[in-house]
Structure formats: structure tokens, C-alpha cells
């Protein structure tokens, strides 16, 4: 019976999410991004914009060369890794799903579902999984479409790129745990969305702080070790939201190939103006960028599980 009930809850969460305009906004944006990418042709013969109407003779990106592949990889890393996975896609997905839990808890709605022979944790998890499955579809649509465009129009076939789909869902799940918790507490979609953004900032800040403190120290500046240790501790406890986009970048292939080109990685270029010991800065960046997937994702999922358990406990104990 539980399988039938869970299926019903998940399907309902899907229906609700599909009802929201933001799903169609997201789908429209995905198509626009794919069209924009498709309008750029990159081949060994040259690069052109607007479906061949504007050839760029001064630009030479040959997909068959390591340098050309590295540039394309860097573009995709920026577009998919940093912007889609790291920011915009997550925001849109939270907007689309922030109402999934609160809508179930609305007065008059919650009474009916709680009267059914299903446990509260199962109800909660059903909605949570439903939101996750919905985002999986969104991510698959975006990543597969851009993967095909990159392959067909830029001659850049990189199957590991498809791993961005689960990576996106994993990162979303870190953040959505907060949305679910705040949804149970406030029973309001807008409030849970805003509080989620605040929580995201709170887990993001120690990561940025730690990375920059490490870099600053590596180039010889004096930093109180307690600050670095504190930031590292918070970074370790909180979900590592910065590392998923980095992992995505590595999978896309940009990191390795940009090293081939000898160019500085993300963040390091910003420090060039300091004219300090760049070698140490590279080493610090490499140390920070050296993501251990199991540790990073494992500790983040552990934190997510704790937040979800708190939300579930709150939901199970609460009077409505």
C-alpha cells in the first residue's frame, strides 16, 4: 500500500510543479539558451555567429585541437557549471518547488491528507522526492539539450558532461532541504523561498571566506589562523555548494584542458593585479579546487539528511 500512496504523492507534487508558470519559464529559457548556443557555429573551418550570418575571422577555435577544446570547455564550464548549476538553475528550481510542501500544509488541505492511513514521515518524504524528481526532469532537459547543441554545432562531444544532471540534482537537494524545513515551519511558499536564499548565503559565505583566506595566506599575507580554522570548520559542516559547480567543471573537461593551456583557473585571474607570488596562488587554488567527491558530497548529504530529519520531525510532531 505504501508504494501506491508514495506514487500518488509524488505524482501530485509533479502535477503541482508543472502547474506553476516558472516551469514553462524555465523550459522557455532552456530553449533560448540552446538556440543562442546553436546560433554560434564552431568548427575547424572557423567560427560564425547568428547561424553563419556573421563569420568571426579573427577568432580561431578549432575543436579538433586541445586548445580549441579547452576554450569550448571553458565556455561550457562558465555557462553550465557556474551559471546554470551554481546559480540560475537552482534559483528557478527552488521557485518552482518552494510551494510543494507548504501547499500540502495549508489549512483545509492538510486535514484531508493527515486523515489518510499514511504516516507523516512518508507524506513528507513523498513530497520531497516529488520535488526532486521534478527538478531532475528540468535538469535533464537543460543538460541534454545543451549537450546535443555543443556536439552538433561546436563539435564538442563530452559524455561526462551528462553527469551535470545528477550533480545539479545533488546541489539542489542540499538547498531544498532548507526549503522543506522552512516550508514546514512557516507553511508559506514565499517565506520558505526567502529563508532558503538566506540559508544558502549562510552556507556559501564560509566557503568563500575559507577560499580567500587560504589564497591570501598563501601569497604571504598574515592571517589569524583561528579565522582560517573557523571558516574551514563551517565549510566542512555545511553543504559544499561551491564544490559541485567545480566538479561539474572538471567533468566538462575545462579544468584539465585549461591547465594544458597554462591559463590560471577560476579566481586566480582576479588576483593578478596583486602582482604577488603567482606560483603560490596557483598552488592554493589547486589545493582548493582539488575536490574529493566522496568527502565533499558525503558530508554535504549528511548535513542535508540532518536538515530533512529535523523538518520531518517538526512535521510529525506538529498540530495543524
Amino acid at each position: 500500500m505504501i508504494a501506491m500512496q508514495l506514487r500518488a504523492i509524488i505524482v501530485d507534487a509533479f502535477r503541482e510543479a508543472f502547474e506553476k508558470r516558472v516551469f514553462w519559464i524555465f523550459a522557455g529559457m532552456t530553449v533560448l539558451v540552446a538556440l543562442a548556443m546553436a546560433s554560434v557555429s564552431i568548427s575547424d573551418e572557423g567560427v560564425s555567429l547568428f547561424f553563419g550570418l556573421a563569420p568571426l575571422e579573427s577568432v580561431d577555435i578549432a575543436p579538433s585541437t586541445p586548445a580549441g577544446r579547452a576554450i569550448i570547455g571553458a565556455i561550457l564550464t562558465e555557462l553550465i557549471g557556474r551559471w546554470y548549476i551554481g546559480f540560475l538553475g537552482i534559483i528557478l528550481s527552488i521557485v518552482a518547488t518552494c510551494g510543494v510542501i507548504p501547499s500540502m500544509l495549508e489549512r483545509g488541505a492538510v486535514d484531508v491528507v493527515l486523515s489518510k492511513p499514511i504516516s507523516r514521515p512518508a507524506l513528507f518524504l513523498g513530497r520531497y522526492i516529488g520535488a526532486m524528481a521534478f527538478v531532475l526532469i528540468q535538469a535533464t532537459f537543460f543538460v541534454v539539450l545543451t549537450f546535443l547543441v555543443a556536439g552538433l554545432r561546436w563539435h564538442y562531444w563530452s559524455p561526462p558532461y551528462l553527469a551535470c544532471i545528477p550533480l545539479f540534482v545533488i546541489l539542489f537537494s542540499y538547498i531544498y532541504a532548507f526549503t522543506a524545513l522552512f516550508g514546514v515551519i512557516t507553511r508559506n511558499a514565499m517565506a520558505s523561498f526567502l529563508l532558503t536564499i538566506l540559508a544558502w548565503f549562510c552556507v556559501f559565505a564560509p566557503q568563500i571566506a575559507y577560499e580567500n583566506l587560504e589564497k591570501v595566506e598563501s601569497i604571504g599575507w598574515k592571517v589569524d589562523q583561528r579565522w582560517i580554522d573557523g571558516a574551514r570548520l563551517l565549510k566542512t559542516i555545511f553543504p559544499n555548494t561551491r564544490e559541485i559547480p567545480r566538479l561539474a567543471g572538471q567533468l566538462i573537461g575545462a579544468t584539465v584542458e585549461s591547465q594544458t593551456m597554462g591559463e590560471p583557473q577560476e579566481g586566480v585571474a582576479d588576483m593578478v593585479f596583486l602582482k604577488l607570488d603567482m606560483q603560490k596562488a596557483y598552488e592554493a587554488e589547486a589545493r582548493i579546487s582539488n575536490v574529493d567527491f566522496v568527502t565533499s558530497v558525503g558530508s554535504s548529504l549528511l548535513f542535508e539528511a540532518v536538515v530533512v530529519m529535523i523538518a520531518m520531525w517538526k512535521f510529525s510532531r506538529r498540530d495543524f
Binding site: 500500500m1 501506491m4 500512496q5 506514487r7 500518488a8 504523492i9 505524482v11 501530485d12 502535477r15 503541482e16 502547474e19 501547499s103 495549508e106 489549512r107 483545509g108 488541505a109 492538510v110 486535514d111 484531508v112 491528507v113 493527515l114 486523515s115 489518510k116 492511513p117 499514511i118 504516516s119 506538529r318 498540530d319 495543524f320
Partner: protein, 327 residues
Amino acid sequence: MAAVASHSDFAVDLSDVTKTYANGVKALDQLSVRARPGEIFGLLGPNGAGKSTLVKIMMTVIRADRLAGTVLGRPIGDREAKRRIGYLPEAHRFPEYLRGRQLLDYYAALAGVSRIDRRRRAGALLERVGMAEWANTRIDKYSKGMLQRLGIAQALMNDPQLVVLDEPTDGLDPMGRRDVRLLLQELREEGRAVFINSHLLGELELVCDRVIIIQKGRVVREGRLRDMMDDSPEYEVAIVGDASGVVETLGRLGASVIGNRVRIPTIDIGVVNKVIDVLRNAGIAIESLRPKRISLEEIFVEATGGGPVAPMARLTGAGADPKGASR
């Protein structure tokens, strides 16, 4: 319908139900309630009396601080019992993106009804509540009365042995109310227990077998409705003329004059005849004489001590609606 697998003869058999909200409002205070299979049970009380709290406790929406007893022979919250309970909450809010048939299917799936049964019952119930032609319309297009009909169908999708309805005729037109009454009577004839919470005393009077009146979380009156209504039988005489001159004489016989009516609170026919003699001797014409049963409203007012001022006073009193108090 299968027989109630129960350790108790009652569909609802609860005692010592106590609930105090976080803000200190005591909604229920050692309340006891019993409803039998095959009867329609009315739950009455002024605003803030604790009616909704009791229903929500039965439906596990709210947890009691303390209670003993069973629903359908099992402890409250037992999943097997919940499978056999249908519930329509007051001011329900259904997902607006669903269509009528989808909504029935969704809630029945949550109730553990198989796909085949869901399909079969949805069609039959939509027909039964007069919503068949709206089955595939999104419910955000429904009127309040249509939503109420769909809500009742929803409560019956799992073929329940106990049907709990909170204000079931809310939003319905007179025809809809009559349909609901007939439906409730059918449910009773099928051997189901029907538990109704409503403010519409006239509606309840027409269908209920038993009622319980609660106030400030305690039972103030309960029993068979017919017994209650026959409990204080009286005669009422409609008169034409001024009876002010015989008020004192009538008072000595226990009768009272209210406008152009004389109330005789007894079934002693000798006393009734004496009252008639007094009236006729005073030259007052008698238009009609009839035995008068006490109405549910009068029972309610008497039980809750509600005069013309008291109901408003209650709105601001300790028994005020505790909605939100749980948060």
C-alpha cells in the same frame, strides 16, 4: 459492507479526551463521546466549544494531551482504522490544478484503495453527488457547492464505516442540502456511522439519531435526539385577544403568555383544560391548541445557557476559537 471488526460496539468510543493548546486555551476537558454504527451522530456546540478540536483529534490532525478509547475498535491513528474512515473537513481546500475525477483518485490512493476500485467508485460517487458531468473539469472552475459535493464524494471513496463530516452542507443550496440529507440517511441504512459537526441545528434535527452538545470542552448534554425533544413536552395555545388580564391566573397554573401564544409546560390534560377555561372565561378566542415538542435549537440554547446576549459574549470569552493556537 464488511462488519466492523471492533473490540467495542461503538464506531467512536472515546473518553477522557483532553487538549490544551500552546497558548493555554483548554479546548477539551476530559470529554467522552460514543457513536454507534448505523446512526447519525451530531456534534454541537457554540464557537470555540472544542468541536473542531475533537474532530481533528479523531483524524490525527491534532494530538490530544490525553485520551482513552478507540475509533472503529482501534486506537486513534491506527492505519487499519484510518483506511475505513472518510473525512470531510470544514473549509476544505483541494488542489486547484486537479480535475474532479483526479482528486477522488488521488485521495483514494492515499487511503489505500486499489486502482480498480478507485476507478469504479469515482464514477459511481460522482454520479451519486450529481457531479458526473463535471468529472473532467478543473476544480478551480467549481462553485462552492460543487466543491462541497466533491468533498463528500471524496470522503466516501474508501467505502468507509465511519464518515466524519464537518459542516457538510456548507455552501449548498436547498436542493443540495436535501440531497445531502438523503445521502446521510442512505449511509445510515447501509450500517455506517456518520459523525457530523454542524452549526445548522435545523439540518441536524432532521437527520441525527443522537447528539452531543459541548461547551468549553466539556459535554453539557447528550443522548438520543428524539428523547431530548420529548423530554420537555408542552402544549401551545394560539389565542386571539388580550390575555394580560389573566396572566397571573395562568401563571398559577404554570402557563405563560408570550405574545399571542400561551405556553403550558405539561402534558397533564387536566391542567391544559383549566388553562383553556381561564382563557375562554376571559373572552379570549382560541385559534389552535397543539402539543409542542422542544426543538433542537431550544435544547441547544438551554444546554449552553445561551440567552440573547451570551452568544456575543462567548466570542470574546475563554472559549474563543483557538485556531492558530497550536502554532
